[in-house]
């Protein structure tokens, strides 16, 4: 796969009722990992199916999202390069025709001033420092695209 992570498929096996499927990914090469892990754990604990992609380039994120048929892509970005990576992911999802089926969430050290522009680009919600994970879980449950 060419990433330094292997896929870690965690969570409960799919049962008759479709569980919400979330891909957690770190675009780029910045290694601040606590946020992504903490949110992953909270999503798994909430009974959703979590696919932990770890470091992935934009191509790998979109491929994994399609192959794994995910409802949500969570991008964890702490490097300040959130506009560049998010735009690339959205463009490729659009090109593959799956943008409308997938909710994109963004978390990390992201200035509140950037939230409106990121939402305009197509991000459903942005989570900065100090976010409580229960708010993320609740947002996914309420807003996931069916």
């Amino acid at each position: 796969m060419g990433t330094t992570f292997s896929y870690l498929v965690l969570g409960v096996l799919r049962m008759s009722e479709k569980k919400i499927r979330v891909l957690m990914s770190k675009p780029g090469i910045d290694g601040h990992w606590r946020g992504g892990i903490v949110v992953s754990r909270a999503i798994r604990d909430a009974g959703m199916e979590l696919i932990f992609g770890g470091f992935q380039n934009v191509q790998q994120i979109v491929e994994a999202a399609i192959q794994e048929d995910v409802d949500v892509i969570g991008l964890s970005i702490h490097s300040g390069a959130h506009f560049a990576y998010t735009q690339e992911v959205i463009d490729l999802l659009r090109e593959k025709g799956v943008l409308d089926n997938i909710m994109i969430l963004l978390g990390g050290v992201i200035p509140a001033k950037d939230f409106p522009k990121l939402k305009e680009m197509g991000v459903a919600n942005v989570y900065g420092p100090g976010t409580l994970t229960k708010d993320i879980v609740e947002f996914i449950r309420t807003n996931v695209k069916k």
Partner: protein, 558 residues
């Protein structure tokens, strides 16, 4: 420390007080330290009855160094005010360094970007959008000339915050630059972080090599600088508990990670045939000053005593200069909030005071915009002034180790020390530090710490004002410092220019030599010095490591 009869009187009097206390209602708060040490309502001479002043405390600059590593401490010389900074390009970082120097900073520290950390050149599309966004890009020797232009590097010490995967090339570039400028590198002072745990559990490595090779690289660098006497005044490693502490582990674990790692490095150097006294005096440490005021002070004092015992009893160091634990402190970035950012100034001031009351040698204070962006010039200046208020206005430096003899502080220092010894044992049972990584042990410890801290914050057990108490929206008022968007094109051009002027055929031969040395057990530094002088980039050196040793996938735990 007290006479038996006297202690009996204290005990009788304490019983009276306890009767009074019995009928009082305490607030509904858990009285525990951050690392969950239960804290009593009051400490008295009874808590110190087993202590011996000479054996447990002694005098500053003398064993067991509990009261300070130097005889005169801040009466002789203040701590170094060293702000960790880097952004955009080496030229912009140079400007920031000069600004801070003019305002009283006394040491420099280069925060590098994610590409420099991971040995990725800007011509590689993997990380291109991150050039200069989280630190200064240092990809080739020309970058080091730009970074230090007009900076008196023979007078002010420079910390290069790079980890073992890239410490050899980045520092070799620095040493070559210094030599080309006419400095004698045997006289240079500074520090390389070179900490295996930073780029494995503090921060996840992107396409780095397996831990046993990383440990070898760290030890190669220590060996070449200090015992081989190429840069003998340099601190070739800085065990950076700060970086993993920020992930969520507690004060006891922080010291446990640090000392277990230090022992693995010392053992490696001894296996290479060196004596502990040949190098151990140049090992340095970088700890966190976190939220629990007294526990952090106790931690710094305990750390000195533990190091002394390790050096004297385990390693039998003979030179008294090699028994002292010298450390840099950084206030806790993870304690700061993006909500009400100005309140962070107060958090940082309290934590800086912990570091100074704990007797640090060097200090970084975080900027109030830490949780939002890289520090703006204004925020960095406030952070520097915070230290200067302590050094110039508070008069805490009037006497050495002013908290010594406090029943509580001495008791807590002992308690932290006991727990750290037990935790060091726990790690060492797994094996050397590279084993503790490759088996996933340290990742599980980190995972459990993340989880515990998250539960504490979400339940409100651990208060974060503005977040889980008196919550306010994420601040969108504070100015956001943005790094230079042109950095990527500037850095690609810098590399292309260098590649055009260097002798590529000659360089290829040097790189082949490096391939050869990587396969053997020979120190990589001489050939990395040669390669970077010939214009090799950090990415090119690291690609050879990857080629020979392979890429490591860390056993992350969720």
């Amino acid at each position: 420390m007290f006479d038996k009869n006297y202690l009996e009187k204290v005990r009788e009097e304490k019983e009276k007080w306890e009767k009074l206390y019995e009928n009082l209602k305490e607030r509904e708060v858990k009285f525990v330290s951050d690392s969950e040490i239960p804290i009593k309502n009051l400490y008295t001479p009874l808590d110190l009855k087993e202590k011996d002043y000479m054996e447990d405390l002694g005098f500053p600059g003398l064993p067991p160094y509990t009261r300070g590593v130097y005889p005169s401490m801040y009466r002789g010389r203040l701590w170094t005010m060293r702000l960790f900074s880097g952004h955009g390009t080496p030229e912009e970082t140079n400007k920031r360094w000069k600004f801070l120097y003019e305002n009283g900073e006394t040491g420099f520290s280069a925060a590098v970007d994610a590409l420099t950390f991971n040995g990725i050149d800007p011509t590689n599309p993997d990380g291109a959008p991150e050039v200069g966004t989280s630190g200064v890009p240092l990809y080739c020797i020309d970058s080091l000339f730009a970074l230090t232009e007009d900076i008196p590097i023979d007078k002010v010490s420079v910390a290069l915050v790079v980890e073992p995967f890239t410490s050899a090339p980045v520092c070799a570039m620095y040493f070559n630059m210094a030599q080309m400028r006419g400095y004698d590198i045997s006289q240079l002072t500074g520090t390389t972080q070179n900490d295996i745990l930073t780029m494995t559990v503090g921060y996840i490595p992107y396409k780095n090599c397996p831990p046993n090779h990383i440990l070898r690289l760290a030890c190669d660098f220590i060996e070449w600088t200090v015992p081989m006497k190429n840069v003998p005044r340099w601190h070739p490693i800085n065990f950076t508990g700060y970086n993993y502490r920020e992930g969520g582990i507690d004060a006891v674990q922080e010291l446990g990670f640090v000392f277990a790692s230090a022992c693995s490095h010392i053992d490696n150097l001894i296996e290479r045939g060196w004596k502990v006294d040949d190098f151990v005096g140049r090992l340095a440490f970088h700890l966190a000053a976190h939220k629990d005021f007294f526990e952090e002070i106790a931690k710094f004092r305990a750390a000195r005593r533990i190091w002394y015992k390790l050096m004297k009893d385990k390693y039998e160091a003979k030179d008294p200069r090699n028994l002292g634990f010298r450390f840099h402190v950084q206030t806790a970035g993870s304690s700061l909030t993006a909500q009400l950012p100005k309140v962070n100034i107060i958090r940082t001031a309290i934590q800086a005071l912990e570091a100074n009351l704990g007797g640090c040698q060097s200090l970084h204070t975080n900027s109030y915009d830490e949780a939002i962006c890289l520090p703006s010039e204004d925020a960095a200046l406030v952070a520097l002034r915070t230290q200067q208020i302590i050094s110039d206005e508070s008069r805490i430096h009037n006497t050495i180790d002013p908290l010594a003899g406090s029943y509580f502080v001495e008791w807590l220092t002992d308690e932290v020390e006991d727990r750290v010894w037990k935790y060091i044992d726990k790690i060492q049972k797994v094996g050397t530090i590279d084993k503790a990584l490759s088996t996933g042990f340290l990742y599980k410890e980190m995972r459990d710490a993340f989880h515990k801290r998250r539960m504490r914050i979400e339940s409100g057990d651990e208060i974060m004002l503005g977040v889980n108490k008196f919550p306010v929206p994420y601040d969108d008022v504070t100015d956001v410092f943005r790094t230079n968007k042109e950095a990527i094109s500037i850095e690609v051009e810098r590399i292309n220019k260098l590649k055009a002027k260097r002798d590529n055929a000659k360089l290829e031969k040097v790189l082949d030599k490096l391939r050869n040395i990587c396969e053997k057990e020979e120190n990589v530094m001489p050939v990395v010095m040669e390669a970077t002088k010939e214009g090799a980039t950090v990415g090119e050196i690291c690609d050879i490591y990857r080629e020979i040793w392979g890429i490591w996938e860390p056993p992350l735990a969720i």
